[in-house]
Symmetry: C2
Amino acid sequence: MMTITQDGQPVYDIILDDSFHALSGFLRTYDPACRKKYCIVSDSKVASFYLDAIFSIMNKHTGNTDNIITFVFPEGEKSKQLATVEQLYRLLIGNNFHRSDCLIALGGGVTGDLTGFAAATFLRGIDFIQIPTSLLAAVDSSIGGKTGVDLDSYKNMVGAFHMPKLVLINTSVMDTLDGRQFVSGMGEVVKSALIKDAAFFQWLTGHRAEVESRKPEAMINMIENSDLIKKNVVEADPYETKGERALLNFGHTIGHALEKYMQFSFLHGECVLIGSLLAADISRKKGFLSEEEWEKIRDYMESFPLPDIPKDADVDAIISYTRNDKKAGADGLKFILLSGIGRALISREVTEEDMKESLEAYIKR
Amino acid sequence: MMTITQDGQPVYDIILDDSFHALSGFLRTYDPACRKKYCIVSDSKVASFYLDAIFSIMNKHTGNTDNIITFVFPEGEKSKQLATVEQLYRLLIGNNFHRSDCLIALGGGVTGDLTGFAAATFLRGIDFIQIPTSLLAAVDSSIGGKTGVDLDSYKNMVGAFHMPKLVLINTSVMDTLDGRQFVSGMGEVVKSALIKDAAFFQWLTGHRAEVESRKPEAMINMIENSDLIKKNVVEADPYETKGERALLNFGHTIGHALEKYMQFSFLHGECVLIGSLLAADISRKKGFLSEEEWEKIRDYMESFPLPDIPKDADVDAIISYTRNDKKAGADGLKFILLSGIGRALISREVTEEDMKESLEAYIKR
């Protein structure tokens, strides 16, 4: 277990376990008199796997199924829109949800982000709990209070910072992820190691087989290390107003642009892996990263099965999408580079030409 | 001028003046290098009166009309929906608005609330400025950081707390308000006096004629006093998590229900005036308020031209709407009563029967 703090005060716990049972213990402290209503939010696929388990834990706590409702929406990024959130609002109104009630996000990043946004904005803010069921959500999106939905093809354009009351990670669910989803989660794991923790990167390269076969101890160690890195960054900069949190954007500038260009047929973490590789390449070309470290990164990255960018992709179009980057400001794009494995920096000197060159070389490789 | 603080730190200023010109001075400090983009948001009616004036002040500052865009939406509460906010998001994306850019809400409560919500949620939060042009907005909605939109017929169901960078009140615009709008603003003025400031209530009863004819000195004094009350309450409880801010809900429990039942054909402040009168009546019946003070309140309230609730109104239906009150919790409804003129308290003992009785008597009077 680790605790996310703000100004030295505990805000919420992240519990890592090999089951969902820790939820019971949390509820006994959080809602001892069982007076709250809960809405479990999940997509159709995750619901079919885990909704019953969560419902039964909740029901054992409340002793009253009337206080637990569920909202299941169609699986996929397409659901991460205001229209889905609006349906959820209507369900909450119809069931007389009040400020003291609570949402439970059971699922991957889409579920966590949209449930968190609904919680941030329903009645100007109600509680929510994150139960991430994908590696990507467990190591990234469930932690740090970023919530939001997409607008048309623009990712996370609409959102809010809203902290969960609990993040409960059941590492045993990682077994059920398909190969691409798992690799996608690895994108954020590798990114975290690269920007902050050389020893963790070393561990990752040394435990490739255990990680690939999702050995329980490897999963726990890996998720814990990733979450610790994320914890330290978000505590230092909870609302992305200082520089620190921008470092988490490593690999994301080109990654997001590629994701959009590919119309989300590539997964987020797959794009982050490619974006990270290209950002490392640019770091090397700009003289920040040594050849030796670059090769280590490249070799490790290339061990992942990544989708191919079509040879005839419109590189200019991909790069043009980086202009919509949320982190861009009046001063231009902040691009995250590496000055070594485990050390990142913010650069304002990466041009579209730089990105284009690396991307073209990658596509042709 | 007054400054709203949080934890002792200044957050934003409220400037009261008889023109819009103070905006120039603010911009010189806020955006000295003129690097920001601005979007002025206004409804069709207010835009026809004041958009040119604001645009020209902005333009003088930026020296570049390319950096100023406008978003004008159809006048009325019907526009206060996610659909309008979604149009605004699209305009901002289309014009490459970034986190460092700024929205300007020029108008009444609808404009301020929806612009504030867009600012709270676009890219997880950008700056905004409030330029309230109705009395209601000047004394209430523009101050305190509450933003939001309605969902179907449910008022302010979706929202966020998001503080403006500046509230600029041009008292001369009060001249152009029609009679009903002006009375509506008086609803929040009277409410503020009743919950917090007996001397101000005394002043109001003694200056009825000057207020009614909107004499400039009376307007400035009245708005300043109301804003000071609101300032003190929101500073003590910025996110409505303590009891203090709930006091501002005086007159609003029945007021909101009536507003909904009348399908918004009654204005918000008209409903607050009626709701305040009924809450004072309940306070008297519960033995909190003396007969003498009750009569003072009743006589003053009845001097306002208020719309008649139809004699055959379904009182049960009106009261049933109070169950959706945002401030309700698992412990039931918090109803605000008066223990005297200028002194309010939170009661959990007001029943639907109590409300019904007072409302029926009011309708039959």
